[in-house]
Amino acid sequence: MLDGRGSVKRKLGARLWLSGTWLGLMALLALLAPWVSPHDPLAQDLFAGRLPPFWVAGADPAYLLGTDSLGRDVLTRILHGARIAFSVALIAGLATAFVGSLLGLLAGYMRGWVDVVISRLVEIWMAFPPVLFAILLIAVLGTGLTSIIIAIVVIDWTRFCRVVRAEAMNQSAMDYVASAVVAGRPRRDILWREILPNVLPTIVALLTLEMGIAIIVEAILSFVNLSISSDAPTWGGMIAEGRTSIHQAWWVLAFPLIVLFLTVLSFSQIGEGLKDRFDPVLR
């Protein structure tokens, strides 16, 4: 029957709260960026260049977090950058999870030649330096949001594939799978209805991690100027620009970096928190 644990509702925990709040806030601001941001992200004002953030002497209160060397508002660009970062995180993360998990499930459950083909492919894939791979891909596909998303999926599906394959193999060895086989359930049914629900917590944890990684990859590509057009407000692009004027205007580098850091950290933390919460065995 229900035991003591079953009836007690667990608290959400600080980890889940903090990361959830930050991500929720950023997602909301990203969604509303065109309406809430104080300036135009692309508007340059050379007379208002390198203005410091509001608490430093010489600041203009209209530019809360200061301006970069071309006089563009840092806060506005961070908010618009969040739009790009969150789109990449969501779309690339989900697509990567889908491709990698599907192949991993098939390899781990079907074994045999399917496993041999997929596993060798993963090994070959992983021997290739990922950033170089991405740069090469962008060079072929051309810059733009779609290219970045495709590049992330192509680089990172192996991350899901390996872990999900191992987990699917683990689950396949359980007696409940043997019972389902004896009961005459079709293989496809066993994979989707018996094994997948038990692999799902792992996929979700990986997915949130991957969302953080996707944001970092996008930032790296922006940093080397291979992301979207060079004046588009991306966090990586802002960091790259800020690097050149670090001694005169630290805020151009610091603010996008802090936001990037907190966002990626929150993604990984929310994954762990969710896993603890929804894993049927840990629950």
Binding site: M1, L2, Y176, A178, V181, V182, A183, R185, P280
Partner: protein, 292 residues
């Protein structure tokens, strides 16, 4: 009519190895009869059960022999037909109740799936049947158990659910793979009684895999003693406990702990007996190679 399940000359080996792990195993079971498969760890008892149900690990190949279920040779059937036949006529009571239920699904679908998917019952009928079965295995609050997740149930409860689920489709053959090994002694007794009760009521043919001769004497009518994947003795339970024919069976019986003399009965099996049994297995292998 001949026996309901006949295993003829069944041999299996590890994939890519010449060495056999099942050595020309033959036995048969009639409807309503319980056959015990006993032997030490690694003797191949569970493997025989798995071979019958078609759930051998992929690393093990059946190299010869036939398994006749209700007159049909399973090894010659198409995989899909075989799966349907097994699904409709046979069931498994697994060893470990902790991993034998899917942790992320409620109990109800885990019992009714087979009825709905394989036998084409309606959901409502399957639910009625499941409740009836849970009553049959003496679960007090079947409604609540059906809505529970496995981790909310105790080990004994889960094993009851598994037994209910095994008997759900009125199977003609049940393979019980050490069904009480993972349970503590008091629960073991209840579960054994339950299995025997259901087996008798449904007059199911049953393969009972165990290493516990005490359990065999309570549940089975006949038993086969295995050593190294070879059956060294087939006899009725009465004959066996009167005096086993094979030296290895005698040693196995002597090694069963006795309450009256716990010290003496815990001695290991005599070295010479093991050597003789091993030699017998090797001789059988030589003969098999020359014959085949």
């Amino acid at each position: 009519m001949s026996a309901f399940l006949t295993v003829n000359n069944l041999s299996a080996s590890l994939h890519g190895y010449d060495q056999r792990v099942l050595r020309s195993v033959s036995f048969s079971i009639d409807t309503g009869e319980v056959l015990g498969l006993v032997g030490e760890s690694g003797a191949g008892k569970s493997m025989i059960g798995k071979a019958i149900l078609g759930i051998l690990p992929s690393a093990i190949d059946i190299v010869e022999g036939e398994i006749l279920l209700d007159g049909q040779d399973l090894e010659k059937m198409k995989p899909a037909d075989r799966r349907r036949l097994i699904g409709a006529t046979a069931a498994l009571i697994p060893q470990d109740p902790l991993t034998a239920l899917n942790p992320s699904r409620r109990i109800e679908p885990q019992i009714t799936n087979r009825l709905v998917d394989i036998l084409g019952w309606t959901k409502a009928n399957a639910r009625v049947r499941a409740l009836e079965l849970l009553n049959e295995v003496h679960i007090d609050n079947p409604e609540r158990v059906m809505a529970s997740y496995p981790h909310e149930l105790s080990g004994g409860m889960r094993q009851r659910v598994l037994i209910a689920s095994a008997f759900a489709a009125n199977p003609k053959l049940v393979v019980a793979d050490e069904p009480t090994t993972a349970l503590d002694v008091t629960v073991q007794k209840q579960i054994l009684r339950l299995i025997r009760e259901l087996q008798a009521r449904h007059s199911t043919a049953m393969v009972f895999v165990t290493h516990d001769l005490g359990v065999v004497s309570k549940v089975c009518q006949r038993l086969s003693v295995l050593y190294g994947g070879k059956i060294v003795e087939n006899s009725s339970v009465a004959e066996f406990f009167d005096g086993p024919k094979h030296a290895y069976s005698r040693a196995l019986l002597a090694a069963t702990p006795k309450y009256t003399d716990p010290e003496a009965s815990l001695l290991p099996v005599d070295e010479a007996v093991i050597e003789a049994a091993a030699a017998e297995v090797l001789a059988a292998d030589r003969e098999w190679r020359h014959g085949g």
